[in-house]
Symmetry: C2
Subunit: 262 residues, 2 copies
């Protein structure tokens, strides 16, 4: 099977023009087929504050009301997505910036939670592997903003890690997929304060233990749940690491390798 | 040659959800190959005002400074583009929302004016007919936000009428192209106040005369200049008319037909 990298680049890197630019240069230099999924960063929240739109939270999770969805669509699919595309193009990469609504690539439904209304948040039903494969076959590099749609005209705010995982799973039927979650840290750490405390390999047993000891916590848990889910569904490799080390991450020479091996 | 419609939908329609929705339904129902180019509407100006960003004008033309470009990228390529795509998808149309930076489809340079610095405004150098043809061959319907890039990382605000004209010209080597400029009026009018005063056919001689008599003026002039330029470069038909009459416009049963015939 042909190699495919699905690379997620996370929040804090998006907000740092120097780091983002360096990351994009490295991303552009990858010879194999590749898909980039980007997060949102802090600009959406900043813009909401500037516009006086209150950010509704429920147990630490943002509620995406209609005004917030509008801002997210502007910032994620507009400003961030197109600036990434323009920079990748400047580095000779045939980037095409799209979201899950485009080409019906990612179909989702509005989250149906028994107690909490998360608003315009999407849970993914289907990734069009055919659509992504067509883009890749033409030499295009999809750059995905974290929005999906319900096929009935509604855009939905969708977690970028989950998008990366679902694309990886869906593409693994016809590609040898490596999924990379890249962000500001060097990998999964045993000490969140010490960027040198990287765990080289993490399997489900070790993950369970580190969660119980509260060494792995907060935002890292859904990310790693996404990673293990991907491995359980045909994705060949999942690596978590620092965006600035992308060139090492893709050859498994840095970061944390998530593995199902014991 | 296979038929291709390049359809521009203009400002005032973008700001009217009911008219836009009806237009998009008609657009989706066109069986032939098609490309949609949309304008910006008033949301960008509204957002700039809300954010306290002064709108700099020079002789009635907006200057696109860095902050304005940011807003335009958010509103045009984000909010408007993705909402159009989601609606088209809901109507069964395989829309893909992109701008000129995506896939390097429209290369431009920052306008170089001897006296006025228009800021981040692009004049088009090259449309990738190959790229558009690839999208169309896959059954995708390109939906173009009026932004281009310079290939060096810069996004550029670019007139949507001009984008539609340049795409039409470029595609006319391999398609039988009909270019439609659709907006809130019924066509080119002999009396701007009377929507029934539509000129059925307009050739260069009549255009010259109507300009001299000040019957055609203001924003209609660059639109018609674009129309005649398109006809001079291989575009088969150019029609100007009301967005709500799209189904009649495409069969030349409404609006003004721009023609080189005397």
């Amino acid at each position: 099977l042909e190699k495919l990298y699905v690379i997620k680049v996370g929040g804090n890197i998006i907000d740092d023009p120097v780091k983002l630019s360096s990351f994009l240069k490295d991303f552009a230099s990858i010879d194999e087929k590749k898909i980039l999924v980007h997060g949102g960063g802090k600009l959406a929240t900043k813009l909401a504050v500037q516009l006086g739109i209150p950010q509704k939270m429920n147990e630490g999770r943002r509620i995406t009301d209609a005004e917030t969805l509008k801002i997210i669509t502007m910032v994620y699919a507009g400003y961030i997505n197109k600036n990434i595309v323009a920079q990748l193009q400047a580095n000779g990469c045939q980037a095409v910036g799209i979201c899950g609504a485009d080409g019906n690539l990612i179909l989702a439904h509005k989250r149906n939670h028994p107690e909490i209304d998360y608003g315009y948040v999407g849970d993914i039903d289907k990734v069009s592997a055919e659509g992504f494969t067509q883009f890749l076959a033409l030499g295009f590099v999809p750059v995905i903003a974290p929005l999906t749609h319900d096929g009935k005209g509604l855009l939905l705010n969708t977690n970028a890690d989950t998008i990366a995982q679902e694309i990886s799973k869906s593409m693994s039927a016809s590609f040898d997929v490596t999924l990379i979650f890249s962000f500001e840290k060097s990998g999964v750490l045993t000490n969140a304060e010490d960027d040198h405390s990287v765990i080289d390999n993490l399997n489900p047993e070790a993950y369970k233990e580190l969660k119980e000891k509260n060494i792995i916590f907060a935002g890292m848990i859904p990310k790693l749940d996404n990673a293990f889910t991907a491995l359980d569904h045909g994705v060949k490799q999942v690596i978590v690491g620092k965006a600035e080390q992308l060139r090492q991450l893709i050859v498994n020479a840095a970061g944390t390798k998530i593995t199902n091996e014991t």
